[in-house]
Amino acid sequence: MAKRKILIIDDEEVFAQMVKLNLEDTGQYQVRVETKGSQALATAQEFGPDLIFLDVIMPDVDGGEVAYWIERDEKLKSVPIVFLTAVVRKQEETIQDGIIAGHPHPFIAKPVGVKELLDCINRCIE
């Protein structure tokens, strides 16, 4: 069985690399890291991920815009996106599994543990 491809778009490179390390350690995922919002679409088109973790706040192009372009890409529009964000309020966290009614994409609040990430991946790709 081929490894699932996971793309992490986050300007915080150390975090992204640690996530990559932890996920690849499971042996089930092929992970790629992109730290520049402006490069995100191109990388995704080239990499062809099964799931994208997308940071919301990035210095050049923010996550929302990246998601907008990915949603409109022929090849990528069916790829699930999970937002990763540090700016999450307590109220939003209580919301079941990070899904806000009416929001197109679920999100995960940073800081996040490996187990939560894996749960999320399983739910989104199954």
């Binding site: 540090a86 999450v88 307590k90 109220q91 940073k110 800081p111 996040v112 543990g113 490996v114």
Partner: protein
């Protein structure tokens, strides 16, 4: 009966004249009578003496013819009525005029005449009513010298002894009538009477006019005074004589003029004062020292709706709200002592019961001796001012609130941007730490339990720091309110929906007692939802082993028109210990730090509630558990 001065004087003068004239007449006529009588008697004696003397011879020779001649000569004399010559026995030797009815004597009378020594005068009234002197003289046969001629006539009826030897041979008697004398006296009397009458008439006239000269000006003065008394001060007397009365007239005119001037002044002053009171826009009420209303001006009538007569004589309390006067007890004393009570805000009550706010002033009017004449109460209707004041006050409060909110919002914005920046910057390192810890937990397989424990501590600390950052973000999100009208029930329902997962996990039952007719309330939907969620989360935390959450809403109508919407959120948890009840709204106060509590939940709720001008209160229920009440102004 009233007799005028003039008549009185006329009567006095007339009486005076009559009295003096009578006295004078009485005296002079008396005198006249006496002298007339004397004259008659003297004349009679002369005649009779002559007759007696001349008839001596005739008697002696008893020559009747001779005697008759003598007698006729005598009777021709004036006033002589009769003439008789008698002998000593009383026989009439000769007579004349006796038949005329005058000569009727009594015996005694005759005897006296026959007994005459020198002369005798007797008076009687003849049957015809004529007064007559009967004069008797003896006829002496003279042998010796007679002294009869030299006797005093006035003592005629006295008997003088004859000094010579002579013999009486008869008596000559002559009757003298006083009729003509009387007639003369009568004439004099009449003249006197006429003269007196004329004098009286003249005197009356003179008096009348003289008194008139005094009385007429007095009458004019009297008339003037009467006219004056009737109020006509324009009257002037026309007395212009140059004497004391003239002075009086001038004084009167001057007095009248001065009186008119001062009265005009007074009337003017009174009119002026009256006009002021009548035209004042403020209510003026004059009160007697006993507290009765004596006078009110039109403004009072307009203000209170009473008619004037309904107020006059009434106690002043009638016009005050519930009869409460502003000057009672202490204030009354102060009023009397200081004489005034200035600009005191109180309420009048109109006839229809309407409450009228007024600015009341009272002042006491005293006379020069210091006793109270009246109390003057003025009042200004300040309904409009009150309204304006209230509006202003309201506007001010609103402004203040808005300002407070703005300041709060500004503060929150600063805190917010700071907090979100901090949160973001803190969370990223925390994320890295968490990933690293997870990596190590996976890789470091060791029997040393302390390593696993240490890594566990790191992980917990990360969660705690993260929670604080999240709380700060909550706080920061309050910066701007986005208010619209909402039904609070709907917002509560949505919060319940979002919390469903939590409640289910803790086996918490939900009971709803929501009023379906809630008025709409202006709120920021997201913030109120956040407040509900924080409260629900606290309840859920308190009931981690299960329980019941009751949420109730209702409308309360308070005495004024403002409606309020009230929410009660009750749990069946352990409640809050009394000693910590005062601290639960403090930021970072928590009893659940080890379970990830930050102590920011209720501070955020408080913030949201305050910024909506609502109220929150948290207390322990008697049955156990906590009740949170939210009160919103509709």
């Amino acid at each position: 009966m009233r007799i005028s001065l003039r008549v009185k004087w006329v009567i006095y003068i007339a009486i005076l004249i009559v009295l003096s004239a009578s006295a004078l007449s009485f005296y002079f006529i008396g005198k006249l009578k006496t002298s007339e009588k004397a004259h008659l008697v003297r004349q009679g004696l002369n005649l009779t003496s002559n007759l007696a003397y001349n008839s001596e011879y005739g008697v002696l020779i008893a020559n009747e013819e001779m005697l008759s001649k003598l007698i006729q000569g005598v009777t021709r004399e004036k006033d002589v009525v009769y003439c008789v010559i008698q002998d000593l026995q009383g026989r009439i030797l000769s007579s004349d005029g006796v038949n005329q009815g005058h000569f009727v004597f009594t015996e005694d009378f005759n005897k006296k005449a026959l007994d005459v020594k020198t002369s005798l005068v007797q008076f009687y009234y003849s049957p015809k009513g004529v007064g007559i002197y009967d004069i008797a003289v003896p006829i002496i046969s003279e042998t010796k010298e007679s002294y009869a001629d030299e006797l005093e006539f006035f003592a005629a009826d006295q008997q003088f002894p004859l000094k010579t030897e002579s013999s009486k041979i008869g008596v000559a008697r002559v009757g003298i009538s006083i009729a003509s004398a009387n007639k003369r006296i009568y004439m004099v009397q009449r003249t006197a009477l006429i003269a007196t009458s004329i004098v009286i008439v003249i005197a009356v006239f003179i008096t009348y006019f003289m008194v008139g000269a005094i009385v007429t000006p007095i009458q004019r003065l009297v008339k003037g005074t009467k006219t004056l008394a009737m109020g006509n001060l324009d009257y002037r007397t026309s007395i212009q004589t140059n004497d004391e009365i003239g002075d009086l007239g001038k004084a009167f005119n001057k007095m009248t003029k001065d009186l008119k001037a001062s009265r005009d002044e007074l009337v003017k002053a009174k009119d002026y004062a009256n006009n002021i009171i009548e035209s004042m826009l403020d209510s003026v009420i004059i009160v007697s020292p006993e507290g009765r209303i004596v006078r009110v001006n039109p403004a009072t009538v307009d203000l209170l709706g009473y008619r004037e007569i309904e107020l006059i004589g009434k106690g002043l309390a009638i016009i005050f709200l519930d009869g409460k006067m502003p000057f009672e007890g202490k204030r009354l004393k102060a009023l009397i002592k200081e004489g005034k009570l200035g600009n005191y805000e109180t309420y009048y009550q109109a006839k229809n019961g309407k409450k009228i706010p007024v600015l009341f002033s009272g002042s006491v009017m005293k006379d020069i001796y210091g006793s109270v004449i009246c109390i003057v109460c003025t009042a200004r209707d300040i309904t409009d001012r009150k309204k304006t004041e209230e509006t202003l006050q309201k506007a001010y409060t609103e402004l203040k609130e808005t300002q407070d909110q703005l300041i709060q919002a500004e503060k929150m914005e600063v805190v917010g941007s700071l907090a979100s920046g901090v949160a973001h910057e803190v969370k990223n390192p925390l994320s890295i730490i968490l990933q690293c810890v997870d990596y190590l937990l996976e890789k470091v397989k060791t029997d040393d339990k302390n390593i696993a424990m240490t890594l566990g501590h790191i992980k917990d600390s990360v969660k705690r720091a993260d929670n604080v950052a999240k709380g700060l973000l909550d706080f920061s999100s309050l910066s701007k309110l986005n208010v619209e009208e909402y039904n609070l029930n709907a917002i509560a329902e949505r919060a319940l929906f979002l919390m469903k997962h939590q409640f289910d996990r803790h086996h918490i039952a939900i009971e709803r007692q929501l009023d379906n007719d809630l008025p709409l309330v202006k709120v920021d939907r997201n913030r109120i939802e956040q407040a509900f969620i924080n409260i629900f989360m606290n309840a859920a935390s308190a009931m981690h082993a299960g329980g019941k959450l009751t949420i109730a809403s209702y409308v309360s109508k308070s005495d004024n028109e403002d409606k309020t919407v009230i929410f009660h959120i009750e749990d069946t948890g352990p409640g809050i210990p009394e000693e910590t009840l005062g601290k639960i709204f403090d930021p970072f106060f928590t009893t659940r730090r080890e379970f990830g509590g930050t102590g920011l939940g209720l501070s955020v709720v408080m913030n949201i509630i305050e910024r909506h001008n609502a109220k929150i209160s948290v207390y322990n229920r008697q049955e156990g558990g906590v009740r949170v009440s939210l009160i919103f102004k509709a």
